[in-house]
Amino acid sequence: MDAILLQILNGLDKGSAYALIALGLTLIFGTLGVVNFAHGALFMIGAFCAVTLQRILSLSFETIDESRTDFLGNPLKVETPYVEAWFGPDVGMAIIDWSVPLAIFFAIPVMITIGFIMERGLIKHFYKRPHADQILVTFGLAIVLQEIVKYFFGANPIPTPAPDVFRGSFDFGVLLGFDPYAIAYPYWRLVYFFFSVTIIGAVFAFLQFTTFGMVVRAGMADRETVGLLGINIDRRFTIMFGIAAAVAGLAGVMYAPINSPNYHMGMDFLVLSFVVVVVGGMGSLPGAVLAGFMLGILESISSMNEVKAIFPGIDQIIIYLVAILILLTRPRGLMGRKGVMED
């Protein structure tokens, strides 16, 4: 029982990453109608925003310590971060330690800018082109973005730890009357879960309760009519693209401490996020979120030994298997709208 509860908890956490990425993707893919293969790259760039801020904060000057030597026998160069020199070692260390949460504020403007540039410079010209062309151009863009990141940061994963206070796990088991540590979950993963829920809530509230959101929703339903009403829907779609990029980026920033970012982490999530969006149903934001959490939980439960003993290798294929079953029983995924991307 406790094992299953633990996996459900873990599934919610995994699912929150899927849901967040799928939410951004479905804003672009399910509503603007653009098959965006560069969405994984946006997630990756978000994670590298955290890496970049960490690097910026740890920018150092070198002093030569004659008393020690490096591996070649030359005098050792000691690096001291500027922030430590300016604010004193304690405050400086604390700032570097908190670089990932700080990166949220760094990433939002960066990601929105990237989103704007992408939409205005490239995607805009592809709204009326076949999906095939959209795939080719965004795939090309994804490769270019990846390679640029690889050029500057290398191919290896880069450790980007969360602040020290989030080390360790929270023990749920004790609260529920289980043995100590029966259901313990790392603090940072819990932070990630609540962060995702907040962002998802914010995006929904924005679309539901603001005039801007109302116009965008109207534009999704019938772009032409909204245009005929004299509303500049293009500008709003650009802004939506920026928001989608920011959502993907934030998902990436907060993910950096969970798994050290590398340049191709976006590609690892790309296929999965498409599956999540489609299982959720094209054009449905709640569908994407629901599918994200559902697939996360199923994936976690299928990786339990007890389950694997009955179905060997089930954890390798569970997501795809579920996707097939859902698409065969529900023609438009969980909550898809009729007529979106069906031709």
Binding site: A3, N10, K14, F71, A155, Y185, P186, I258, N259
Partner: protein, 447 residues
């Protein structure tokens, strides 16, 4: 598509039988008088360096390329000569190989066997490379080794740790300097028993493919022989990036040691996840919970950051070794590139030197002559102490390093410290050991 023809079946059969009679390969090349594939006829000889340049292992591949370039420089008499001066065989003289200047071509394996074989074939067919070397994963190494066997060139394996490379998939034209899963286990198990006691319960998380399986088998066998109990062995999909759902059950399994049979990106993520879940702060069965990473790579350990501190593992070579060979290599590599070499760089440098030396001693580039010179070759001065290239399976036998993640690294390269140098005798095994059984070297192929 293919039209049905009543006599086709009969035709096929006769054809197949006829082909059996003619099964001798007929290869005509421009220099069909040549005794073997890509015999170097001019004043130069071309070697093929086939490493991952894109994908997850690109940085490892880049480090291997650096070492290859350094080796070529040294072979051609440039630089400070590196390990050529400490190498026990002094056949090489800095005038290339057999007086021919060494040139090289590079290719990208993408860590995919298909791409690796395409790249190796282009080196053999287009660039006339007489030897192929490289690789940063066992699947690729085994695939390229098979290709080189068929094409009739020598393959000097790079970083490949699976037992199979010199076990069931061994080939007469392939040679491995790197150690393997069995040796890791043999070296690591006594140290683990010594530090953590003989009464331990191990939980294995294993990458679900051949390398992971052979390592899991080796480690489990070696630790069980010393009294450990294996609680569970769980396979994780190779494509996993988040191991949380596999780590979470470890907490309540009653295990007090977690063995991560993962490499590269998998290792970085599973280790990071395990530390996140607070495994190392736990006391289970009145013992401190421990994590073991049997195969360490310094380049990859960097990705896990502070999480590697205190974690035991094994490695083929480390730059902090103090013998003359290692120091000479670190000096010339560090001077040229500004940072110390990785174990991948070391093994490929050694392989290049060993090949060149074997050609020099054999007096010929013919793969069979080279293979004969390498088989049973005893040497020293390449950083691993006295080493033996066994003729039966083309595996090198040498000391194995047991290392531990440093608690307070001084810089980004100073991540591991050598805990123990396990002597060669302790990691040797019979050529027909069951974990390595099932294949045959076959005969060397000169094309």
């Amino acid at each position: 598509m293919s039209t049905s023809n009543p006599t086709r079946r009969g035709l096929l059969k006769t054809g197949a039988i006829a082909s059996a009679g003619l099964a001798v390969p007929t290869i005509f090349t421009a220099s069909s008088a040549a005794a073997f594939t890509n015999e170097p006829t001019g004043s130069t000889v071309t070697l093929g360096f086939n490493v991952p340049q894109t994908g997850a292992y690109a940085d490892e591949g880049a480090d291997e390329l650096r070492a290859y370039e350094l080796a070529v420089e040294h072979l051609n008499g440039g630089g400070d000569g590196g390990m050529m001066s400490t190498f026990s065989s002094q056949a090489l003289n800095g005038a290339g190989i057999l007086g021919k200047q060494v040139q090289f071509v590079t290719g990208d394996t993408q860590t995919k066997s298909d791409a690796a074989r395409a790249s190796a074939r282009s080196m053999i067919e287009k660039d006339e490379a007489v030897m192929i070397t490289g690789g940063s994963s066992s699947g690729v190494a085994i695939a390229v080794q098979g290709l080189c066997q068929e094409a009739g060139v020598i393959f000097m394996a790079g970083l490949t740790h699976s037992n199979d490379t010199t076990g069931k998939d061994k080939k007469a034209n392939g040679f491995r300097h790197f150690f393997n899963g069995y040796m890791s286990a043999a070296a690591l198990a006594p140290v683990l028993a010594d530090r953590y006691g003989t009464d331990r319960n191990a939980y294995h998380l294993t990458a679900d493919y051949t390398w992971g399986w052979t390592q899991e088998e080796s480690i489990a066998a070696a630790t069980e022989a010393l009294g450990w109990n294996t609680v569970d062995k769980v396979r994780t999909p190779l494509a996993s990036t988040d191991f949380s759902s596999y780590i979470a059950p470890v907490l309540n399994s009653g295990a007090d040691v977690l063995v991560l049979n993962h490499y590269g990106g998998n290792m970085v993520n599973s280790l990071t996840n395990a530390v996140q879940f607070g495994l190392r702060d736990r006391i289970v069965n009145d013992k401190q919970f421990e994590i073991v990473v049997p195969l360490y790579s310094r380049l990859m350990a960097r990705g896990a950051g502070a999480n590697v501190a205190g974690i035991l593992g094994s490695t083929n070579w480390h730059w902090s070794l103090q013998d003359a060979g290692s120091q000479a290599f670190v000096r010339s590599f560090g001077t040229k590139y500004g940072f110390p070499p990785s174990q991948a760089a070391h093994t490929v440098y050694c392989q290049t030197l060993l090949y060149a030396d074997a050609v020099q001693r054999a007096g010929s580039f013919h793969p069979c002559a080279v293979a004969e010179a390498l088989e049973g070759f005893d040497f020293d001065g390449l950083g691993n102490g006295p080493t033996h290239y066994r003729a039966d399976d083309h595996q090198c036998f040498k000391d194995v390093l047991v290392v531990r993640g440093k608690e307070n690294p001084e810089n980004e390269f100073d991540l591991l410290e050598v805990v123990e140098v396990t002597p060669r005798a302790q990691v040797e095994y019979a050529a027909d050991h069951p974990m390595f059984a099932g294949g045959a070297l076959g005969e060397c192929n000169g094309g």
